[in-house]
């Protein structure tokens, strides 16, 4: 018995030792990379993480293990990456909501992946055809129109709040758990309006249940060039989601650069591009500095809006 224990113990020691050797070398990446997705599996961030992870694996020959750590709108997973060793082996596939004012300093932006727009959809029976007519209609019927969102503080909620603020209109907020339930009530006309992601809304347009009035990007979005931006009628309106990769703050610059280059190459790969298009998104390559600037502007914008919304409650 004792002998067996000794053998096991020896094996343990050897394993630890070989790990330590791997540590002392500097080439990156030397062992598998963990990519944390702070949302449940199957969503946009999860699908993107798996697609990009696979490309990184093909490039470096090291597996990228995707791990879902959902909770608190993504903040739990993001904080975990913030607490990790800054060695580039723990990454975060973040999306709007996960990175907030009190964890942004503990994360190092690596690369923005995509900034897909939302769409403004209304039920087919609502007597409006354009955003301008919609604003008119809302002004005539203040608070009478209900809009669905995927939860308080979610992108679909904030987009609607921004819209109401800029167009000086009022609608009643009906929060749902997730986009799907909201779309369900939109197509059955229990709510009349929703800001939602294209892939959830467009199929219902084809079925004639709802109509799209505009996209939420500042200008026309290449994938949906025929749809006008909401900003044409409501100046200043822009509400895009974003997906991007971050590492722990303090990760060496050369590793961040390697990761950023690899991610930029991955998202411009034709097969990845094609699948992103199916998700209603186009790749948005850029440097870590670009991403940092984008994040700063984006978090500031929504924090300001959110505090305004809360002040009115």
């Amino acid at each position: 018995m004792l002998k067996r224990t000794a053998v096991v113990f020896g094996a343990l020691l050897m394993l630890t030792a070989s790990n330590a050797v791997a540590w002392s070398q500097t080439k990156y990446p030397e062992h598998p990379i963990k990519m944390i997705v702070p949302f449940p599996p199957g969503g946009g961030a999860d699908v993107l993480a798996r697609m990009v992870g696979q490309k990184l694996n093909e490039r470096w020959g090291q597996p990228v293990v995707v791990e879902n750590k959902p909770g608190n709108a993504g903040i739990i997973g993001a904080n975990e990456v913030g607490r990790s060793k800054p060695d580039g082996y723990t990454l975060l596939m973040a999306a709007s909501g996960a990175v907030v004012a009190n964890n942004i300093d503990r994360l190092a932006p690596v690369a923005l992946v995509t900034t897909p727009p939302y769409m403004l959809a209304v039920h087919e029976s609502l007597p409006v055809k354009t955003v301008a007519e919609f604003v008119e209609y809302l002004k005539k019927n203040p608070k009478a129109v209900n809009f669905a969102s995927s939860g308080v503080g979610s992108a679909s909620h904030l987009a609607a709040e921004l819209f109401m603020g800029l167009s000086k209109t009022q609608m009643t907020h009906v929060p749902y758990k997730g986009i799907g339930q909201g779309v369900n009530d939109l197509i059955s006309n229990k709510v009349s309006v929703m800001f939602g992601p294209p892939q959830a809304l467009l199929p219902q347009v084809a079925a004639g249940r709802i109509k799209i009035l505009g996209v939420t990007s500042k200008e026309r979005y290449p994938l949906f060039a025929e749809i006008p931006p909401v900003a044409e009628s409501v100046p200043g309106f822009e509400a895009v989601g974003w997906y991007g990769i971050l590492a722990t703050a303090g990760t060496p610059d050369d590793i961040v650069k390697q990761l950023s280059d690899a991610t930029n190459a991955a998202i411009q790969d034709p097969t990845v591009k094609e699948r992103m298009n199916a998700l209603g998104a186009t790749p948005r390559p850029g440097t870590p500095a670009d991403f940092r600037a984008f994040l700063k502007q984006d978090t500031a914008k929504w924090a300001e809006l959110l505090s305004k919304v809360e002040a009115t409650k």
């Binding site: 018995m1 343990l12 394993l15 630890t16 963990k34 293990v65 791990e67």
Partner: protein, 149 residues
């Protein structure tokens, strides 16, 4: 009814427990905005549940006093504590020392909690269980569980 007998009543303790949870619900109702039935705040639902729990708890409590029924049987404190300590030890060591150490701790602690603890047998069980768990969960199903530190 003697106090000692009252303290053995299931209903006595069940009533107390429900009333205590009810109080928490009502307390939550006070902490969060209650609102009206037409426009409920976050505290409305917990408060309503809390009130119902206190009432039901009171009925059960009174039943324990007025109509003595089933008594609480002997508590198995030792297995309970060792099982819980085992789970907590697993939780504490898993991401730090890895699955093998954590699972060993769990199996040994819970094993000690049983009536018949045979060291050799538990070692064998541990080896078999840990090996097959690693093969099934980590190798075959590739769950993200660290095996070693």
């Amino acid at each position: 009814m003697s106090i000692a007998r009252l303290f053995r009543q299931q209903d006595f303790w069940a009533g107390l427990m429900f009333m205590a949870f009810g109080a928490i619900g009502i307390g939550g109702g006070l902490m969060y905005r209650v609102g009206t039935t037409q426009e409920m705040g976050p505290g409305y639902f917990p408060r309503a549940i809390g009130v119902a729990l206190v009432l039901l708890g009171a009925i059960i409590f009174m039943r324990g006093i007025l109509a003595p029924g089933k008594e609480v049987s002997r508590w198995a404190i030792r297995p309970l504590i060792l099982l819980i300590v085992g789970i907590l030890a697993f939780a504490y060591t898993l991401e730090w020392l890895g699955f093998v150490v954590a699972a060993t701790a769990l199996i040994f602690l819970s094993g000690v909690g049983g009536k018949e603890f045979d060291f050799k047998e538990v070692v064998l069980l541990c080896a078999a269980a840990v090996t097959s768990a690693v093969l099934i969960f980590v190798k075959a199903l590739s769950l993200p569980i660290p095996v070693w530190p």
